[in-house]
């Protein structure tokens, strides 16, 4: 793969800067201690007494049955939900106070991303949207970013589909577009919610392999929420199982 990501020095500097802004040098991408959270107006906590520490440059698989709190956990990490009690640090930033800073360094692939056939935005439009928060007003896309977009299109097998309206693609192709949108941001942390749901067996393997390469080459921390564990379990560094909002199993493979 050509180097369109940041180099090691830049990545290390990012990590160091994230930590030096805060008094506690926690050394983990995600630090969660005794966290409870609930949705507004709900009668019970959606996540109960969650504690775990996820180091940098790892792939963590979070699994569990429907309604166990997997998506809720991602929403907590990204700052859509607040901890009622407990401590949560993401990339060294206390949450939800520094949610925006975390979001600028994170790539998020949501569970429900399917677009209707009438969607007017093209593949290129959607991938470029991933860079929106980094662009200045009136800024046309700079040449180096255009190269980055081309590279991401090749990486995700979307070359030649740039001008195709997203709604006309298959589910698997749409998922690749959303993954490309995540990758073009060169995030420190990637959160994927059910990334294998619309993919066939061989594509699942390809995506898993891609995630492994991103972790190894670009020191990205990846959290995958999935009830399908086979494609990723061989590459995962940890498995966390949730049930009814609590962690019932935490297993580290390395």
């Amino acid at each position: 793969m050509q180097r369109y990501f940041r180099n090691s020095d830049e990545i290390n500097e990012d990590i160091r800067r994230g930590h030096s802004e805060h008094p506690r040098n926690l050394g983990y991408a995600i630090y969660m201690k005794n966290v409870f959270t609930a949705y507004p107006e709900s009668k019970d906590a959606a996540l109960k007494n969650i504690s775990f520490k996820i180091p940098y440059q790892t792939i963590t698989l979070i699994t569990g049955p429907n309604g166990s709190g997997k998506t809720t956990l991602l929403e907590l990490i990204i700052g859509f939900l607040k901890p009622l009690v407990g401590e949560l640090y993401v990339l060294g930033y206390k949450m939800p106070k520094h949610a925006r800073k975390v979001r600028l360094k994170t790539g998020y692939l949501p569970q429900d991303f399917m677009r209707s056939p009438s969607e007017p935005y093209t593949v290129l439009d959607v991938i470029t949207m991933g860079l929106a928060p980094y662009l200045k007003p009136f800024n046309t896309i700079p040449k180096d970013i255009k190269k980055k977009i081309s590279w991401v299109l090749r990486l995700t097998g979307l070359e030649g589909l740039e001008d195709t309206p997203v709604g006309q693609l298959s589910g698997g192709q749409q998922q690749r577009v959303m993954l490309a949108r995540v990758l073009v941001r060169q995030p420190q942390l990637i959160l994927l919610d059910e990334p294998f749901s619309s993919l066939d067996q061989s594509t699942r393997k390809e995506v898993s392999q891609l995630l492994k390469e991103i972790r190894d080459r670009y020191k990205t921390t990846i959290i995958v929420v999935s009830h399908v564990i086979e494609p990723i379990i061989d590459f995962a560094d940890a498995l966390i199982e949730l049930r009814e909002g609590s962690v019932v199993k935490e297993e580290w493979f390395s």
């Binding site: 507004p40 990204i78 859509f80 925006r100 979001r103 600028l104 994170t106 790539g107 998020y108 949501p110 991303f113 009438s118 969607e119 007017p120 935005y121 439009d125 959607v126 470029t128 949207m129 991933g130 860079l131 929106a132 928060p133 662009l135 007003p137 009136f138 941001r185």
Partner: protein, 285 residues
Amino acid sequence: MVFLVIFFIEVLITAMLAGALCGSLGVYLERMRLLTISFTIAHAALAGAAISIIFKVNPELTAFFASITAASLLEIAHSKLNISRELISMAIFSFSSAIAMLAIYLTPSVTLTSEVASLVLWGSVLATSLGKILLLVFLLLSLIIYVSAFRIEINTILFDKKLAEAEGVNVNLHATILIILTASSISVILKLTGAFLVFALLFNPSMSSIKLTYRRQPLIGALLGALAGGIGVFLSFYFDTPIGATISISSSVILFASILASIVKERKLRQKILSKHITQLVLSC
């Protein structure tokens, strides 16, 4: 005669600019799910304008302050107190409507039939001036510049608001900018269409555009809004009817026509799909 022609042209330009501004703005408000809020702001402007009749102050200023206050209350309640925008919108809408009715009730009947009351409540062709035209041009240019400057961020929000927020786009800032533009536009247009019907100009052309096309909706909304404004002025002059009501009726007719056109288009598409497969079936046999 010359004066009449000049006056007519002035009114026509004002109405078309107002229609274009609201038609375009309405598309963004609808796509960002802020249309309910703009409905509330329109009624807050009505309350502000109605109060101005009693105290004999500039109705445009009071309308502007009332709508900005309503928008601010809405944002504070949503962001700090976690109350849903729709809920607080409806609360402010009810309150504003009640204040407006109360203000009208308390207004002496002499004042109520006066020019000022007509301007505020029913709209009037006399609500045009060079200053107003320049103000509308300024607002339209502001919208164009804003949308051009933040094109990619706005598209990101229109594509998926929650994902845009998760990626670090300041969704609240853009919502606030749109709401301020809406409040300003409503305050300026108030005297032309009247406070009761100003929302029709925000809603109808934008919904027509959304029904007709998936691409360039803000541009189509602007064109349809300008068309509604233009037709409304012609009809108002010809039939000597209140301008606000006539523009609203024109925009409503355009909306009905757009809905019909979209139904016809959908049916034709289905027939095309069916005939394509029937041909394939016949050929395979």
